[in-house]
C-alpha cells in the first residue's frame, strides 16, 4: 500500500473509496453514541420518546384545542402533530449533532487521519434508534385512536414509501450539516445559530399546521424546504392525508439533493484546513 501525499488544488474528489475502507468506523461511532447517549440519566432511553411526546401534548393543547388549527381529513390533532414531530425530531437531531460533530471531536480531527466525512455521517445515523422507539409510540397512538373512533387505521402500500421519506429527511440534514460543520470549524457563530435554525425550521415546515394552509401560488416555493415533502409524506402514508406525490415532492427531493451535493463539495474543499483551523 503506497500513500501518496500532495497538496490538493481546487475541488477535491469525493474519495469514496477511502470512506469505504473506514466503513467500520462509521458503525463504531454510531455504536459509541448509542452506548453513551443516555448514560447517567434517570429516564434513560425514555427521553427518546418523551421529547416528541411532550411537544405533541403541548401542541395539541395550544394549537389543537385553543387555536383550533384544522387538520387534514379531520385527523385527531395529537396524531396529526405527532406524526410530523417524528421525522422532524429525527431531522433536527441529525442536523444539530452532525453540525457539531467536527468541533465536538476536535481531538480526533487534530490528531489522527480518517475520512472526515465519517463524523457528520455517523452523527446523522445516530438518531435512527430514537426514531424507531418514538415510532412505536405512534403505533400505540394510532391503535388507541382507531379503537376510540375518529381515526381509521390501515396498513397499506403507502407504508413502503416511509423509508424514502426518512432518507429524504436524513439527506437534507446531512446536506445542511456538511455546510455548517465545515463553517463551524472556522466560525463558532454556528454554535449559536443552530438552536435558532432548528426552531425556525420547525415553523416553516408543516409540523403544527397542515401544508394546505399555504396558499396555492406559494406551494412550489414552500416545497423547496424538503421537510415539507417529508412531513406530507408521513401524513399521507400513515394517516391517509392527501397524497404528496407530485411536483411538490419532486421540488423537495431536488432541493435535498442539491443541498447534499453542494454540502459535499464544500466539505471536501474545506477538509484540508480542518486540522489547522479547528
Amino acid at each position: 500500500m503506497t500513500i501518496y501525499i500532495k497538496p490538493t488544488k481546487g475541488w477535491a474528489s469525493l474519495n469514496l473509496r477511502d470512506l469505504w475502507t473506514y466503513r467500520e468506523l462509521i458503525l463504531f461511532m454510531v455504536w459509541r453514541d448509542l452506548l453513551v447517549r443516555y448514560k447517567q440519566t434517570v429516564l434513560g432511553v425514555t427521553w427518546a420518546i418523551l421529547q416528541p411526546f411532550l411537544q405533541m401534548v403541548v401542541f395539541s393543547i395550544i394549537f389543537g384545542r385553543f387555536a383550533k388549527v384544522p387538520t387534514d381529513n379531520n385527523i385527531p390533532y395529537p396524531i396529526f402533530s405527532y406524526v410530523a414531530l417524528l421525522p422532524f425530531t429525527l431531522f433536527a437531531k441529525a442536523l444539530n449533532d452532525a453540525s457539531r460533530s467536527l468541533v465536538g471531536h476536535q481531538n480526533m480531527v487534530s490528531k489522527i487521519y480518517f475520512p472526515r466525512l465519517i463524523l457528520p455521517l455517523s452523527s446523522v445515523l445516530g438518531g435512527l434508534v430514537d426514531f424507531a422507539l418514538a415510532f412505536l409510540v405512534l403505533l400505540g397512538m394510532m391503535i388507541y385512536y382507531a379503537l376510540t373512533g375518529g381515526f381509521h387505521f390501515i396498513i397499506n402500500a403507502a407504508w413502503l414509501w416511509l423509508p424514502f421519506f426518512i432518507l429524504l429527511a436524513l439527506v437534507t440534514a446531512l446536506g445542511v450539516a456538511l455546510w455548517l460543520s465545515a463553517l463551524y470549524v472556522q466560525y463558532r457563530d454556528v454554535g449559536y445559530m443552530l438552536p435558532f435554525l432548528s426552531d425556525t425550521w420547525k415553523f416553516i415546515s408543516p409540523v403544527v399546521y397542515s401544508s394546505t394552509m399555504i396558499p396555492e401560488q406559494w406551494q412550489m416555493l414552500y416545497s423547496i424546504n424538503p421537510m415539507v415533502g417529508v412531513i406530507n409524506g408521513f401524513r399521507w402514508a400513515l394517516l391517509g392525508a392527501p397524497s404528496p406525490i407530485g411536483m411538490g415532492l419532486l421540488v423537495s427531493t431536488i432541493s435535498a439533493i442539491i443541498l447534499l451535493a453542494t454540502g459535499l463539495v464544500y466539505f471536501r474543499r474545506m477538509e484540508r484546513t480542518f486540522a489547522d483551523l479547528i
Binding site: 501518496y4 501525499i5 452506548l35 480526533m108 490528531k111 487521519y113
Partner: protein, 424 residues
C-alpha cells in the same frame, strides 16, 4: 535498502491570522466583542496583505527514510517537527511538495484519541482500535495481548472515567502500541507516565525497530535520541539543516542554538501575536562582574536575567526559567514570584519594561552544557510566552571542589559540601 518514506520539497505555509488566539478574560472578551462589528467592516475594506500574515512552518524539506531505520527528529519547539509529523500522518495537507509512503503510518501522537470516559476499557479498546484504522478482526485477535500489556485486566469492564490517569494512559498506549503499522511515529509520549511505564514504552519501541519496522522518533531528550537512534535529522525554523549520525546531529543541534555569547534577544517579528501583552526582549547570563558571558565558572554566582515589556497591565504574572542539561534533563524550575512576599508585591504589574533576575549560587552546577527555557504565564489563566532552549551556556569547573583529580564527575550538581573526618 529501499526508501519507505520519500519526502520531496515539502513546504507548509500557515496563515498567522487564522491561528488560535488563546484565551481571554471575560472583560477582555466583552471589549473584544464590542469591537467586533468595527473590525469586521475594517477587514472587508482592507484585505490583509498576504506575505505579512504567513509563515513557513516547513520550507523545502526533502529526505528519505529507509525501511527498518529508526530516525531521530530533533529541533526546538516551533521548528516544524510537529507539522512534519502531522503531514506524514495525513492530518493536515502540505502547501507544496510530495510524499510517498509505503505502508501504514501509526503514531503515538494519538494516544487515547477518541477514548470516551463513559465507556468501559473493553469498549474503548474496540473504539480506539477502529479510530486508529484497525479492523474488528484484528482488534479481537489482539485483545488479550492489549489488555495484558496495559495491566488493567481487573478494570476492563469499568468505565474509563473511574481509572487513575496512569491506568488510562497505559490502556491508551497499549492500543496504539498494538496497531503494528509499518511506520511508527513517536512524539515525546515518553514524557508521561511513571518510570516503569516509560521503560515499557521504550522497550516496545525498540521491539518495533527490531522487527524491522521503521520508526520516526521525535524528542527533546538528547539522551533518548542517542540511545534509540543511529541517525537523526535536525530541523531549524522549518528547514532541514542537518542529517547525520545521531551523535553528530545532537552535537550540531546543541551548538547551533540561536543564542550566542550568553544572550538571546527577540526581535518584534519573532514574537507570536498570542503573547500580547507580554513581549520578551532579552535573556542573558551575566558573570560576577556583570558582563554578559557564555561560559561561567561553577565556583562563581551566575546571574540569569530576563528582560521583557508589558504593553498592558497583567495580573498574577510569573516569569520562570527552566534549567536543563544539554541533553534535555531537567535540573530545576524557578519563578520570579516564588517567594510569597514577592508574589504579594507583584500581583499586578503595570505596563512598562521589566527585568526579572535571579542568581544561581556558586557551587551549584557541575561542568557541562546547560540550556534555559523561559516561560511567562498567569497560573491557570493563560500562558503568554514560552520558549524552549532559549539560551545555552557552559559551566566550567575549574577550581571546583575535587579538581585535584582531573576526572569527570557524574551528576548535574557539584556542591561544595562540608566534610568532617573524625579519627575514632
Amino acid at each position: 535498502m529501499t526508501a519507505i518514506i520519500r519526502v520531496e520539497h515539502l513546504s507548509k505555509l500557515y496563515r498567522i491570522g487564522l491561528a488560535p488566539k488563546g484565551y481571554r478574560t471575560l472583560s477582555e472578551n466583552i471589549t473584544y466583542a464590542m469591537g467586533a462589528p468595527i473590525r469586521a467592516i475594517r477587514r472587508v475594506k482592507t484585505p490583509a496583505p498576504d506575505a505579512m500574515d504567513t509563515i513557513y512552518a516547513l520550507n523545502d524539506v526533502s529526505f528519505d527514510v529507509e525501511e527498518g531505520q529508526v530516525l531521530g527528529i530533533i529541533g526546538r519547539n516551533g521548528a516544524g517537527k510537529s507539522t512534519l509529523l502531522k503531514i506524514l500522518s495525513r492530518i493536515t495537507e502540505p502547501t507544496e511538495g510530495e510524499i510517498w509512503i509505503n505502508g501504514r503510518v501509526g503514531s503515538l501522537l494519538e494516544v487515547g484519541t477518541g477514548f470516551h470516559p463513559e465507556l468501559t476499557g473493553r469498549e474503548n479498546i474496540f473504539l480506539n482500535g477502529a479510530i486508529l484504522g484497525m479492523k474488528r478482526g484484528e482488534i479481537t485477535s489482539k485483545f488479550d495481548e492489549i489488555v495484558a500489556f496495559s495491566e488493567v485486566e481487573q478494570f476492563i469492564d469499568t468505565p474509563v472515567k473511574r481509572y487513575s490517569s496512569g491506568m488510562y494512559l497505559r490502556l491508551a498506549f497499549a492500543v496504539a502500541a498494538h496497531l503494528e503499522p509499518e511506520i511508527l511515529v513517536v512524539d515525546e509520549v515518553l514524557a508521561v507516565g511513571d518510570a516503569e511505564f516509560q521503560r515499557k514504552c521504550l522497550g516496545k519501541m525498540s521491539d518495533v525497530a527490531q522487527q524491522g519496522r521503521t520508526v520516526l522518533f521525535v524528542s527533546h531528550n538528547m539522551s533518548a535520541i542517542l540511545r534509540l537512534t543511529q541517525e537523526s535529522i535536525v530541523i531549524q525554523k522549518g528547514q532541514l539543516v542537518k542529517r547525520a549520525p545521531s551523535v553528530e546531529a545532537v552535537d550540531f543541534y546543541l551548538s547551533a542554538g540561536h543564542s550566542s555569547d550568553g544572550e538571546r534577544t527577540w526581535s518584534r517579528d519573532e514574537i507570536s501575536l498570542d503573547a500580547d501583552p507580554f513581549r520578551p526582549v532579552a535573556l542573558r547570563i551575566r558573570g560576577p562582574k556583570g558582563t554578559v558571558v557564555e561560559t561561567v565558572r561553577s565556583t562563581e554566582p551566575v546571574v540569569v536575567e530576563f528582560e521583557y515589556e508589558l504593553t498592558a497591565p497583567v495580573t498574577g504574572l510569573r516569569v520562570g526559567i527552566y534549567l536543563n542539561t544539554g541533553r534535555g534533563e531537567a535540573v530545576f524550575t524557578t519563578f520570579d514570584t516564588d517567594d510569597p512576599g514577592m508574589f504579594e508585591r507583584f500581583t499586578n504589574r503595570k505596563p512598562g519594561r521589566y527585568v526579572s533576575r535571579c542568581i544561581i549560587p556558586p557551587d551549584t552546577l557541575n561542568s557541562g552544557r546547560y540550556s534555559l527555557n523561559v516561560n511567562a504565564s498567569s497560573y491557570r489563566i493563560r500562558r503568554y510566552f514560552a520558549e524552549e532552549q532559549a539560551l545555552e551556556f557552559s559551566v566550567d569547573a575549574t577550581a571546583a571542589p575535587g579538581m585535584q583529580w582531573p576526572e569527570p564527575r557524574p551528576g548535574v550538581t557539584r556542591p561544595r559540601l562540608e566534610w568532617k573526618i573524625e579519627s575514632l
